[in-house]
């Protein structure tokens, strides 16, 4: 018997009409020439083209929309390296609330500036010596703000799941039966909500979490059957998914439903960014293409099969994008 999960397909469907007109129905790209090259069908759900440049606004908006007027007046607080911050800041702005964002002091400049431009207040912390959750907790206690976590909340998961539901509908319209979906995995929220959608609506579709090779906490935790963290002090170019350890909301879902965990190296990620640039003409950020990198490097068999991945975001400095393309 399956575990009872905090979110069901029904919860995800409930968010769909409320997000309409606020978030974009992003394209599911397919390129006949790329398919010929790979010997199978590759589908890219381009959430990089989403409002605020990442899928995160789906969950953030749905969470803030479900706050009471009194909670909205107190405002939101969250931690994020950038994409979730942008989503929460924009959601708060759209809904007449306010946001405080706790960001690592090495977050990309473009993300920090963009978050500030949306009217949010930024509090920085040191990734290696402080725990972001402690900083958020202090702000919650001091100010009465409501936490909107990047993944560990049923409403955030339900909002994120609308991307997977769209992908499934778009694939069906393209006569594509998804053999596998690869989801870039940080906190594991998009991964978990995608797994829930597929388990209920497309059970033959295998869902994999994909992580940077030095931040494969979910992969190792899935193998161990229990949450294992990453060592401190490591770095990856995939800033959006540099998470310390799986959280206790998303991990049980992922443990129950995922087909497994895959990894990609930073070099493979750079190659995948170039591939997306050359063949799909889209701007991607490093953490957004770990799934594509895994596919291009044969971590999963695409030959005569249909494999989808979510391009989770495209928020990157022009200078950094240029540097990564040229390396």
């Amino acid at each position: 018997m399956p575990h009872a999960h905090p979110v069901s397909l029904k919860d995800i469907r409930k968010a769909v009409p409320e997000l309409k007109g606020v978030v974009a129905r992003t394209p599911l790209f397919e390129n006949a020439d790329v398919n010929a090259l790979l010997g199978g069908r590759l589908l890219l759900k381009a959430e990089s083209l989403q409002r605020t440049g990442a899928f995160k606004i789906r969950g953030a908006y749905w969470r803030v929309l479900n706050m009471s007027p009194e909670e909205r007046a107190r405002g939101a607080v969250t931690y994020s390296s950038g994409n979730h911050a942008l989503g929460v800041a924009r959601a708060a702005q759209l809904l007449g609330s306010s946001a405080v964002i706790v960001m690592p002091d090495d977050a990309p400049a473009a993300k920090v500036e963009a978050v500030r431009a949306l009217g949010a207040e930024i509090v920085t912390y040191d990734r290696d010596t402080e725990n972001s959750a402690d900083v958020v907790w202090r702000i919650e206690t001091d100010t009465g703000r409501i936490e909107v976590p990047p993944s560990a909340h049923p409403l955030v998961l339900a909002g994120a799941g609308t991307a997977a539901l769209e992908m499934l509908e778009q694939a069906a319209a393209m006569d594509a039966m998804l053999d596998a979906v690869l989801v870039p995995c940080g906190g594991g929220g998009l991964t978990a909500s995608t797994a829930i959608v597929m388990a209920e609506a497309s059970p033959a579709t295998a869902v994999f979490a994909v992580e940077p090779e030095l931040f494969d906490d979910t992969r190792r935790s899935l193998e161990a059957g229990a949450r294992i963290g990453n060592p401190k002090g490591l770095r990856t170019i995939c800033d959006a998914i540099m998470t310390p350890i799986p959280n206790d909301v998303t991990f049980p879902i992922n443990l129950d439903l995922l087909a497994g965990g895959l990894v990609a190296s930073d070099d493979e990620v750079r190659e995948a960014m170039r591939f997306a640039f050359e063949h799909f003409k889209i701007v991607t950020e490093p953490g957004a293409v770990v799934g594509l990198a895994a596919i291009l490097n044969g971590r999963i068999d695409i030959r005569d099969r249909t494999v989808a991945t979510v391009i989770t975001g495209g928020n990157i400095d022009a200078r950094r994008f240029a540097a990564l393309l040229e390396e």
Copy 2:
């Protein structure tokens, strides 16, 4: 009484089912935050996401498809700085024909390599001392190949027009009534076919040709009522639309139907590329964003109106893209 044009909306509609499955139905992007910034609705028809990275395959494929088996065996010849070359090369390959492409010797390396990779033969010429048409004519005469011009052919125009028809359908689905459409203009084929679509299906929509400021042959010709060329020896970063003079197939259509001609400087084009990168997360080539540049620089009023432009292509070296973003 309107002039009789070599292509009608009916001709364009005829191409639609034949192109299905070969060319992509590219997205028409709208960004609520950009609209708020501009005070009007901006719609981007992203033909940069088209197969071969530009709208050109629409017309090229339709032309080659309409060749007789005997003509296809002789093969195609054309001149192009790159995007039309890619379209013709791919169309020839898909349809079991072959292609010879006459390219300027300063065409971007990525385009030359990509054309070669599609199996086409390349013949180069000097933009300042030779006339591409003479080189094509010599090849036609010597080899019996059929010319597939970049714009000056009714079937090429009919194929290109499918992009405008899609845009109009997509706009209607978004409840957008197009006040104006700005089309990047080189040979004037996409401009002319867009004008034909709008004149017949959306007569209240004004269509403008947009050119690099030093290559404004169409704008000046429209004002003079007769074809006027550009001086030799000039350069622009907009390689895709560096044309010498309007041609005698597209210009009469444009003279009859356009609302006028607009220009953008190379600096404005660079800014527009950065704008597309930051706000829409898409890769664009310089010549593809002259329309966007004109809008961002107030050449047309977008306030409380709906203005669309075609992002005509995204074929650009990673290195050059990086350099243009950083300038």
